[in-house]
Amino acid sequence: MTKAVIVNSDGETLSALMGPTGAEHRRLANRVMTDALTQADLTFDEISYVVATGYGRINVPFADRQITELTCHAKGIASLFPGVRTAIDIGGQDAKGLKIKNDKLVDFVMNDRCAAGTGRFLDVLVGTLGLKIDELGEISLKATQKLPISSVCTVFAQMEIMACLSQGTPLPDIVAGLHDAIANRVVKMVKKLKIEPDVVFTGGVAKNIGVVNALQDCLGFKVSVPSEPLLTGALGAALMGRELTLKAIAEGKPIHEKERRLAESTFFHTEKH
C-alpha cells in the first residue's frame, strides 16, 4: 500500500489515506498524492515539503527528500504515543522491532527475508482456509483450543493446516494457532532489543485483534495500537518534513534545496507515460 499524510505547520493532520502500491510505484504514488490533496482541499503548490519513505521511496519523483521508513515510523509512533519505548511493526513484506528513546530511533531488528512472522504468512494461509484477511481476528476469538503450529515456514505450515482441516480441526482453533505462531516468531526476534513498555504495535497486521491478543499473551503486558496502524510511517515522514521546513524558515534558508522537479500539470500527466 502507498500511504499519504499531510500535516500543517502545527503538526495537525489534514489528510491521511492510502491506496494500492502496484509494481510501478511511481505512477501510483502520484495517484495517492492527488487523492490526499483532494481530501485536504489543497493544491500541490501549497505543499511546502514532501518526504518520501518506505521501500519505494526513491520512486516518488515529486519528493523533496527521502528518509528511511524506520526513522519515519519512530517519529510517527512517538508523536501518537509519547511514552513509547518499543514498537513492533508487522506488515505484508516484513516485520520490524524498533527501540525508541526521546522520540528517536536508537536500534532496530528486522526480518524481510522469510515470510514467517510477517503479514504474508497470514495472506498465504487465509487462502488455504478459504477466509478473508479481515475476518481472521473475529474468528480467532471463538477458538476453544489453539492449534499449535509446529512449522515455522509458511509453505510447511500450509501443508500442516491442510492436514488439520481434513481431520476436522475447527477453523477458529486453526486461526488462533496461526496468530500465536506469528506473535511468537516476532517476539522472539524483537527480544533481541530487550523489549520495554510502552509497546506500540503498528502495520497492517495490527488491525487483527487476534494477533494483538496473541502478542499481549506472549509479552505478558498490554500493547497500544494506533487508530490507523498503517499510517504511522507516512505520518512520521510528514512530521519530519514539517521540522525541516520550520528549521529552514528559522534559519532564513530556502525551503527547497533543489527546484521542485514537477510542475502541477506535468505532475498529473506523468500517469499517461
Binding site: G22, Q93, R113, A115, F121, C153, T154, V155, F156, M159
Partner: protein
C-alpha cells in the same frame, strides 16, 4: 522367490510413483499427482500400473511403500524411509555414487553413502521450504508455464535475476516485481535455479561431499537446475535415467531383499 514381482510405491507430497521390479530390475513405471487423498492415489496407482502391464494384484508378491504418504498405502505390508530407499535405488543404478542430492517437491535432502552403499549421514531442509522444488512450482505458476518447461527455458537466459531471498513465499512477490520491471521468463527461471543451487550447496557443506555425486528426485528432471547446481559446485553430476522413480525403485529392492 526368483521370479517374484515386487512393487515399490513412493507416495510423495507432489506426485506418487510406482515401480514393478523383477529380479532387481524395474520393468514398469507409473506416476500420478498425489492430490489430497494419499490412500486413494495409492489404490489408483496400483490399479493403473497393473492394467498397464497386464498383471493382477495376485502377481505382486510384496509391496513396499515410502514417501510422505507411505502410511496410507492400505495394501502395503511395510514402509521404509525415503532416505534409505533413495540410497538403495541410486546404488542399484549408479554404484559409484557417494553423495546424493534428492530434490523433491517439499524437501531437498543430501545423503552420504559409504563404499558399500550404506547411509552414513544425511541432511534435510527441515526448517523451511527454501531449496526445495516448491519454489520452482510457485514461480512456474507466476510465469504461467508448465513445470517441465522450466529447465529448457532457463537455458536461454543471458542475465539471470538475482533473488534477494530464498523464501519461496517472498520469492513469488520478488518474481512478480521483476516481471513488471521487464525481466524475461528465462532470466527469472535461471535466477530461481541459482537460488536453489546455492541452498543445495549449503546442505552439501553441512553433510560433506564425496564423489561421485548424483542428483535424483523430480528436481533432477530439470536440466536448468542440474546445470545450475553443477556450475555452483564446479563439477558434473550423475543423473539416473528416471530420477523421479529412484525412491520407488529403492523401496521395491528393499522389499525384494527382505523376502
Amino acid at each position: 522367490m526368483k521370479m517374484a514381482l515386487i512393487m515399490g510405491m513412493d507416495i510423495g507430497s507432489g506426485t506418487s510413483k510406482s515401480v514393478i521390479v523383477r529380479d532387481g530390475k524395474p520393468i514398469a513405471y507409473h506416476l500420478l499427482p498425489s492430490g489430497v487423498d494419499y490412500r486413494a492415489v495409492a489404490q489408483q496407482l496400483r490399479k493403473e500400473s497393473l492394467a498397464k502391464t497386464g498383471l493382477s494384484a495376485a502377481d505382486i508378491a510384496d509391496t513396499m511403500a515410502t514417501g510422505q504418504g507411505a502410511e496410507n498405502v492400505p495394501f502395503s505390508g511395510h514402509q521404509a524411509s525415503d532416505i534409505l530407499c533413495c540410497a538403495r535405488g541410486i546404488t542399484s543404478i549408479l554404484p559409484s555414487v557417494r553423495t546424493i542430492i534428492d530434490v523433491q517437491r517439499t524437501f531437498t535432502q543430501v545423503i552420504r553413502l559409504n563404499a558399500t552403499g550404506h547411509v552414513i549421514n544425511f541432511v534435510i531442509n527441515e526448517k523451511c521450504a527454501t531449496g526445495s522444488g516448491c519454489f520452482l512450482d510457485i514461480i512456474s505458476h507466476v510465469l504461467q508455464i508448465d513445470l517441465k518447461d522450466a529447465g529448457p527455458l532457463s537455458l536461454g537466459s543471458d542475465n539471470p535475476v538475482v533473488f534477494t531471498t530464498g523464501c519461496a513465499v517472498f520469492g513469488e512477490s520478488e518474481a512478480i516485481s521483476r516481471v513488471s520491471e521487464g525481466a524475461s521468463r528465462e532470466d527469472i527461471l535461471a535466477g530461481v535455479h541459482a537460488a536453489l543451487a546455492s541452498k543445495i550447496a549449503t546442505l552439501i557443506d553441512r553433510v560433506g561431499l564425496e564423489m561421485d555425486c548424483a542428483m535424483s528426485g523430480g528436481g533432477a528432471l530439470n536440466v536448468g537446475l542440474v546445470k545450475s547446481v553443477e556450475k555452483k559446485l564446479g563439477f558434473k553430476l550423475l543423473v539416473p535415467e528416471q530420477p523421479q522413480f529412484i525412491n520407488a525403485i529403492g523401496a521395491a529392492l528393499m522389499a525384494e531383499s527382505e523376502a
